[in-house]
């Protein structure tokens, strides 16, 4: 039976579309969009287990990334390395069915996903993230779990000057406030969720 109950965003009543903060003649330093409707799975398993990696590969059509910060992507689907035995699968498609070889949790609604794009995005994240976010150290296709503004965040550089942030939902309002305050000096634009 499918869910028929209405869904609510973690930013309901908090994020308003529009331009905020400093006036920048060249446009806002960052544009923020909430990515809604993304299906997200947390997958844990033992790569020494013969079946696990191949089964996951079959189900999602992508091999599991094996090295720190590595991601794999296809149209609409991304697989993020979170640790030696943990991955995040984020997809705009239907959720893949995964076998018992993996420990799987649907974490789609437990995360707020924000897409940040713009020339100052690294400057803004670096206000609260201890990672080296320079393009040479954190290029497109790189991901990491770390802290931003004291909150645990999964960070995925999906394209040039574009980052997807995965934040635990209970921290959504707190993180939103941190992020928008950090972006004030560079100017930011909020687009309607999509």
């Amino acid at each position: 039976m499918a869910d028929t109950s209405p869904m609510q965003s973690a930013l309901n009543g908090i994020a308003q579309p529009g331009d905020f903060g400093a006036d920048q003649p060249a446009g806002p330093g960052v544009t923020i969009t909430e990515r809604q409707g993304l299906q997200i799975l947390h997958v844990a398993g033992d790569i020494r287990d013969a079946e696990f990696p191949s089964q996951v590969r079959h189900a999602i059509g992508l091999p599991l990334p094996m090295s720190a910060g590595e991601t794999r992507a296809s149209q609409g689907t991304r697989v993020l390395w979170l640790g030696p035995d943990r991955w995040l699968v984020a997809t705009e498609d239907a959720l893949p069915a995964l076998s018992d070889a993996a420990a799987v949790n649907d974490v789609g609604q437990g995360r707020l996903v924000l897409r940040l794009t713009g020339p100052r995005v690294r400057d803004i994240l670096a206000k609260g993230c201890p990672l080296d976010l320079h393009a040479s150290a954190f290029p497109t296709g790189h991901c990491a779990e770390s802290l931003i503004g004291h909150i645990g965040v999964t960070i995925d550089c999906t394209a040039d000057e574009t980052f997807d942030l995965y934040v635990n939902r209970s921290y959504a309002a707190f993180f939103w406030e941190w992020l928008t305050r950090a972006a004030m000096e560079y100017g930011y634009r909020v687009l309607p969720a999509g």
């Binding site: 869910d3 028929t4 109950s5 609510q8 035995d85 609604q109 209970s170 004030m184």
Partner: protein
């Protein structure tokens, strides 16, 4: 030129076309763009700018930069006011308002100056000695001292500005943008390495800004500008002006304080006032320059006594004459250049008093060419005057400098430019754990051995010659870049005009002749004199660390930059030891004071710590709930109706739930998803009770212990599938339990096939409780929730109000109850559906307060009882402890001290009079009239008014509690002095047989 009587018509880096108006102590003045507050005050002839800390002596401007000990002012007004800012570090802006500090009622007439007359009452160590006893009088002393010894005023309104933090990583961090720093950054930058170059001033150049020299036959500042321009164009170089490297920590982490908007009346366009950088560098190069030391003589604190380099800076950089007639007093060669520059700026040079018997011939020629007289082997023994210097007394030094001889001469002057040699700024080097070496030729400490990946260059390294600074910078830049993995091309040092070596004569304090009185100040900010060092020595405070604490030498906002070396050299003299044997005090972070706002950054106001919100938060708020915190979580306490007080509301709610039905948001409980073939075995080892036989679709209550046998946490475990469990934890221990389980799985039992993640955020929890709970539930689900299909401690995966849900028949309230977990996006819909469906059954929402009452009535334990000292047996879980299997904590739980006679056990408490609330946190004693110390039998851990019983109740842990049931004892609160007679009861007040929850 309005009123700027001491401003030259030309010269200096200021923009005379841009006048700026400012006020000091309420009086309006004009300065120019490019001025500091100090240079603008001097241009206007303002020489008295403050009163000293202890003796309230008149003080003027002593330095020109970060070393300034005297000219501390209160900057700005209202919410933006800041105390203790050196006027030498304040860039002038239009509309600047500053006031002097430490004076009352006015700067010129200061009542505190009586301290100077009574100075015998205020020797070093005065505070320790006088005010230690009697302790009762401290408040009175403190009131008096605080009033007269204030150091400016803190703002009373909230700071309106933003402050930012910034993490950065680089290959080479260069601290200091003088010639050596620019050379370093240039080579490293050209190599392609990621370079951060910071400098505390608004423009680069360091000492070159005020000491004109040549590089390749051009003015050195041209080279500075060219280099800064090239660095600015390099994409791999981050250039930070107005940014002080202020703290050096472990693993090459350096903190920079960027003053983004301090040079403006207010920040613009949402910029932060300060940005605090935490830079992690592969390699650090310290090019922090050097600071000139003063010479110590009687009255050396009077306005008009100034570092020679500072007077030179005012002349060259700002076109300001710091006086009209000056005596230059030096022990080294650098002051000769200063004297020539002062003369060129129009200041009459009365004489150069050189402590050296035979200055280098070059110095003498230079003076002679300028027509300046030099008195060698002499010293200024005193500066005279009241609010400012009007003359100095000069005498000859004897051979070893320990005495002065001959006739004293007085020389008229309004400026005494002093140079006691130069101290490399080794603060950051020392903070990095680098070892210092005392250089006899320089009479200064210089970097010796690095501890971290760091190197010093230029004046910071004891190299004062410009070409040496540049070549050291080029070398340091190349080495740092190559260490960081880049290939740096060698650069030949350009040809520079040469300056003579310093060749100082060690002269740590000019001897005070018998016929003179007067204080010889070492530390101007803390009013520590040369004689105080002698006093400290006589009283046994002979280590430099003791000297510092006894006399407060070097403890001010200037960190003793102009006083430390002289102080420890004087102590070395007293101890008849060499200076290196005495050593230095520890250089501590920060090098310069950092505003509290910059340290807080964005972590201010509501952002001091994170907050976590349930998906139902907005509903709770919209329905009038006040909130309380549980860890980071915000929890709705109750939903007051009409004019109800909070207490009325939660008492009503708690009663209503037992009579009818209610729902409560329990999203904050920790939830852990555990999977794997060995998950059951893992749980068996973790909990005191067995889990191997828990059937799929069943829940079980479990208790876990720490290794030491004390209860760690409790909660329920549900078997979702053969190899999948859901663990719940208390709200407060969720993180610690997760870490504990990960530790056991990863480190201790890697052979077990288990994986776990926290799913707290993925499942919103709503508890539905009360005699009509099932009736309400049946309205919102098509599943079978009958007692047969879903008995107590049963579990179902189902749909509630259209949302996929996990349904647990568990009860915290003791009523017929269900916990519903659903994805957070559906939580509001489910919550509202329950309220709507339950309307016929008179359903209400209830908050955390009512939930707490319901659990106290049932004797369920939470934080107060799980206090880190109670065992499972203490809390009544003794029978749960399996003897069939080992589990974490079982061995030490069995040790003698945690068992047997005298253990404090969980009990219920009821006031004997049936009315009095049991005091929160009360101690349980037998007799309030007993002789103290009264034996403590236990404590009240929870208490409330029970609306269902109609009288107050409490839970407590009580020595031999179970054996005392029926006894009458006293619950006594020493804090509120309340005592309530209580009867000891069983901790379960309602339905001990558990019939209601199984109903």
């Amino acid at each position: 030129m309005t009123g700027q009587a001491f401003r030259n018509a030309d010269g200096g880096g200021i923009d005379r076309t841009k006048p700026l108006t400012f006020t000091f102590d309420g009086k309006s003045y004009q300065g120019h763009c490019g001025d500091t507050l100090a240079s603008a005050l001097l241009a206007n002839g303002v020489r008295l700018v403050g009163r000293s800390f202890k003796y309230h002596r008149p003080r003027g401007i002593f330095g020109a930069g970060v070393e300034e000990p005297n000219a501390l002012v209160q900057l700005r007004q209202g919410a933006r006011t800041e105390p203790n800012i050196p006027a030498t570090r304040i860039e002038l802006y239009d509309g600047l308002v500053a006031t002097s500090q430490n004076r009352w009622p006015s700067l010129k007439f200061d009542i505190g100056a009586i301290n100077a007359v009574l100075h015998k009452l205020f020797p070093a160590g005065f505070y320790y000695k006088t005010f230690m006893w009697p302790a009762k009088l401290w408040p009175m002393y403190e009131h008096f001292i605080r009033h007269i010894a204030g150091m400016g005023k803190t703002p009373t309104e909230p700071d309106p500005d933003d402050y930012a933090h910034r993490f950065a990583h680089c290959d080479v961090l260069v601290c200091g943008g003088g010639p050596a720093g620019l050379a370093t950054a240039l080579v490293a930058g050209r190599s392609g390495a990621r370079v951060v170059l910071c400098d505390e001033n608004d423009t680069f150049g360091g000492a070159l800004r005020s000491q004109p020299q040549t590089i390749d036959s051009r003015p050195a500042m041209d080279w500075v500008r060219d280099t800064a321009t090239e660095l600015g164009r390099l994409e791999n170089v981050t250039v930070l002006n107005r940014t002080t490297a202020t703290a050096y920590y472990d693993h090459n982490m350096v903190v920079l304080d960027e003053r983004v908007a301090d040079h403006k009346i207010a920040p613009e366009n949402h910029e932060p006032r300060h940005r605090l950088w935490q830079v992690r560098a592969q390699e650090v190069v310290l090019t922090t320059g050097a600071i000139e030391r003063p010479l110590i003589f009687a009255g050396n604190d009077r306005p008009g006594v100034m570092l020679a380099s500072a007077a030179q800076t005012y002349a060259n950089q700002f076109g300001v004459r710091a006086g009209e007639r000056t005596v230059v007093f030096t022990n080294n060669s650098s002051a000769y250049a200063a004297a020539v520059d002062l003369q060129a700026a129009g200041i009459e040079i009365q004489a150069i008093i050189d402590a050296r018997n035979e200055p280098p011939a070059g110095d003498l020629t230079r003076a002679k060419d300028a027509g300046i007289g030099v008195l060698t082997g002499h010293a200024v023994v005193a500066a005279l005057g009241n609010h400012a210097v009007n003359s100095v007394t000069v005498m000859a030094l004897n051979e070893d400098g320990a005495d002065v001889t001959g006739e004293p001469h007085d020389i008229l002057c309004d400026l005494v430019a002093v140079s006691g040699g130069w101290s490399p700024s080794v603060h950051l080097f020392s903070q990095s754990r680098g070892k210092l070496r005392y250089d006899d030729d320089l009479t200064a400490f210089v970097p010796d051995r690095s501890f971290q990946r760091e190197r010093s260059a230029g004046a910071a390294n004891g190299s004062f010659d410009l070409s040496e600074c540049l070549s050291e910078g080029f070398t340091a830049g190349a080495k740092a870049a190559s260490q960081a993995g880049f290939e740096a091309a060698a650069m030949a040092a350009p040809t520079c005009g040469t300056e003579p070596e310093l060749r100082p004569r060690a002269l740590w304090a000019v001897p005070l002749p018998d016929f003179l009185h007067g204080k010889r100040f070492l530390d101007l900010q803390n009013d520590v004199t040369a004689d105080d060092v002698g006093l400290a020595y006589r009283e046994g405070y002979r280590s430099v660390e003791h000297l510092k604490r006894y006399t407060t030498l070097g403890m001010g906002t200037d960190q003793g930059r102009t006083s430390n070396v002289n102080g420890l050299a004087l102590m070395a003299g007293r101890r008849c030891e060499a200076i290196p044997a005495v050593g230095t005090t520890t250089f501590r972070q920060p090098f310069t004071p950092i505003p509290m706002g910059a340290i807080a950054g964005a972590d201010s106001h509501d952002h001091v710590s994170p907050t976590r919100l349930s998906p139902l938060y907005q509903w709770h708020k919209d329905h009038g709930a006040p909130f309380t915190t549980a860890g980071y979580w915000m929890r709705a306490q109750a939903y007051p109706q009409g004019g109800e007080t909070l207490e009325e509301a939660y008492l009503r709610e708690a009663k209503h739930v037992r009579e009818k039905v209610g729902i409560v948001d329990v999203s904050t409980l920790g939830k852990i998803d555990l999977q794997g073939k060995d998950a059951a075995e893992f749980l068996n080892r973790v909990y005191i009770n067995g889990f191997a036989k828990l059937a799929v679709g069943k829940c079980r209550y479990g208790v876990m212990l720490r290794d030491d046998g004390i209860v760690f946490d409790d909660g329920t475990v549900t078997r979702i599938a053969e190899h999948r469990f859901l663990i719940t934890t208390t709200t407060l221990h969720a993180g610690a339990v997760m870490t504990h389980l990960e530790y056991l799985a990863q480190v201790e039992w890697p052979e077990l096939d288990v994986r776990m993640i926290s799913v707290t955020d993925d499942w919103t929890g709503i508890a539905l409780a009360g005699p009509r709970a099932r009736a309400v539930l049946e309205c919102v689900t098509e599943g079978d929730v009958s007692d047969v299909a879903l008995p107590f401690m049963g579990f179902q995966e189902t749909h509630i109000a259209g949302a996929a849900a996990r349904l647990y028949r568990i009860s915290f309230s003791g009523e017929q109850a269900y916990e519903i977990n659903m994805a957070p996006g559906h939580a509001l819909a489910v919550w509202e559906a329950l309220l709507e469906a339950g309307a016929a059954d008179d359903i209400i929402p209830y908050g955390s307060e009512a939930m707490n009452i319901l659990r106290i009535e049932k004797g369920h334990v939470v934080g107060g009882e799980l206090n880190g000292r109670t065992t499972a047996a203490d809390l009544g879980f003794g029978k749960m402890m399996s003897s069939q299997k080992p589990f974490v904590g079982h061995v030490l739980a069995g040790r003698e001290g945690l068992n047997g006679e005298g253990r404090q056990q969980l009990v219920g408490l009821i006031p004997v009079n049936g009315r009095s609330r049991i005091p929160r946190g009360a101690q349980i004693i037998a007799d309030t009239g007993a002789k103290t110390p009264i034996p403590r039998l236990g404590e009240v851990t929870s208490q409330c008014m029970s609306p269902n019983l109609g009288h107050p109740i409490g839970l407590g842990i009580l020595a031999n509690g179970r054996a005392r049931i029926g006894d009458t004892l006293q619950a006594h609160s020493p804090l509120t002095k309340q005592s309530v007679a209580v009867t000891v009861t069983d901790p379960i007040f309602i339905d001990p047989a558990g019939e209601r929850l199984r109903g």
